[in-house]
Amino acid sequence: MSSTTPALSARGITKNYGYFPALSGVDLDVPQGVSVTLFGRNGAGKTTFLKIAATLARASSGTLTVCGFDSGEAPESVRRSIGFLSHNTYVYRDLTPLENLRFFSRLYGLDQTDREIAALLERVGLGDRLNDPVRAFSRGLLQRVGIARVMLHSPRVLLLDEPYTGLDANAVGLLNDLLDEAVSGGRTVVLTTHDLELGLRAAREAHIIDRGRIAYSGLADRPETREAYRRFIRTGGES
């Protein structure tokens, strides 16, 4: 793709659950190499949108492309370009972190060597737990394995759904470091979170989803953005 192709581009995305519209027309463009945060109350549609972007869910109508690949026509190419992280860690309890990542590496057709994988695990602070079954890990350690898994195939776009939930301060710091590194490495980050400060910390743009639509878009460092957050999220939205 060229340097002007948006990393993510959504047009008219709707998602209906029966008669209930979870998303009623989302248009969004995320340029390459930019960090973007999506805010919204519970049930506003942030997770649904991210899942559609990750091809875990199918939109009822509209189109969404990631790195130029259409999620309806080339879902596997989309999946190759993205790394999706939520509070689920997707790791197999009976395998060690090394074995888990080795499996994912082969699944993605990467054939990385054990040394490369070990190096990645060291980056996330698991250097000395490489060969312990994941079964015994605390939540924080599990999340680190999850983070390593997400970075394994060097995705161009990171989709993170409330990744800070349940993390201790160390893990939050680790995640922030990795996100900063990702952005300076030219990757695109799309983040959803409840926490205003964490959400605005490294983001360039912020959008607020309310009742299935994008209700506000703006730059993260502007006061209007905080104002909009207060308006939509704190007080309960427009009537």
Partner: protein, 224 residues
């Protein structure tokens, strides 16, 4: 309009069918009056298969188009269809007991009907136990499709099996000397039963449509 016509025609056809079954049709030589249940027993059986074909078509169309109206058609037809399958089995038993002295025999048709009823029931149970309504529709459609593929396979398997191990055939085997008047009575009974199915299906669909409308409005109010 169709509903109004059905409201009148359905009971009328039933009265007619009862006349044909109990008065017009000649009494069967060996089995006597009990045999008259055959007209409704077979009609209910055929109708249950028609109902399942509708489930299959609805399931396929829903998977293809994601239009909720197909999903609604499928599971409403399943609810009405299982009724007719049950009636068929019950009538089969009521017929078998006085004639052969046993409540049940694993004859081909009864066994097939039982399997169909089981597939209906498992389809409906699935619907009852899935929490997310969107997921329910997709999952039921998949199972409906698998069930529809299963029915002809069942037919072949049971027929072949019974061919290996013959047993008394409850319905006396089609074409084993049915009087032409009996065919007419069967035809009339079938029309009546199929009309009843259509009537019940439409009523069930209407209830379901209202249900979903209410659900939608509730969601609308709740999100304000």
């Amino acid at each position: 309009m169709t509903d109004r016509v059905l409201n009148v025609v359905t009971p009328l056809s039933f009265v007619t069918a009862l006349y044909f079954a109990f008065v017009y049709a000649p009494t069967e030589a060996t089995m006597g009056t009990v045999q008259r249940i055959f007209y409704f027993h077979v009609s209910a059986g055929i109708t249950s298969y028609v109902a399942f074909i509708v489930v299959g078509v609805g399931s396929l169309m829903y998977l293809y188009s994601r239009d909720p109206k197909w999903d609604r058609l499928a599971y409403c037809s399943a609810e009405v269809g299982v009724l007719f399958a049950g009636i068929n089995i019950l009538m089969g038993m009521l017929w078998a007991k006085p004639i052969w002295g046993i409540w049940w025999t694993w004859d081909a048709r009864l066994t097939l009907q039982l399997l169909l009823a089981l597939i209906f029931v498992s389809y409906l149970m699935l619907g009852a136990y899935v929490a997310d309504p969107m997921k329910r529709a997709s999952l039921q459609a998949v199972v409906g499709l698998l069930g529809a593929a299963d029915v002809p396979i069942n037919y072949m398997a049971i027929r072949w099996w019974r061919g290996q191990h013959p047993e008394p055939v409850i319905a006396g085997g089609e074409g084993s000397g049915l009087d032409p008047d009996m065919y007419i009575a069967l035809g009339v009974a079938f029309v009546a039963v199929i009309l009843l199915y259509t009537y019940l299906l439409r009523k069930r669909l209407a209830i379901e449509a209202s249900h979903e409308q209410i659900g939608y409005l509730e969601q609308l109010v709740a999100s304000r």
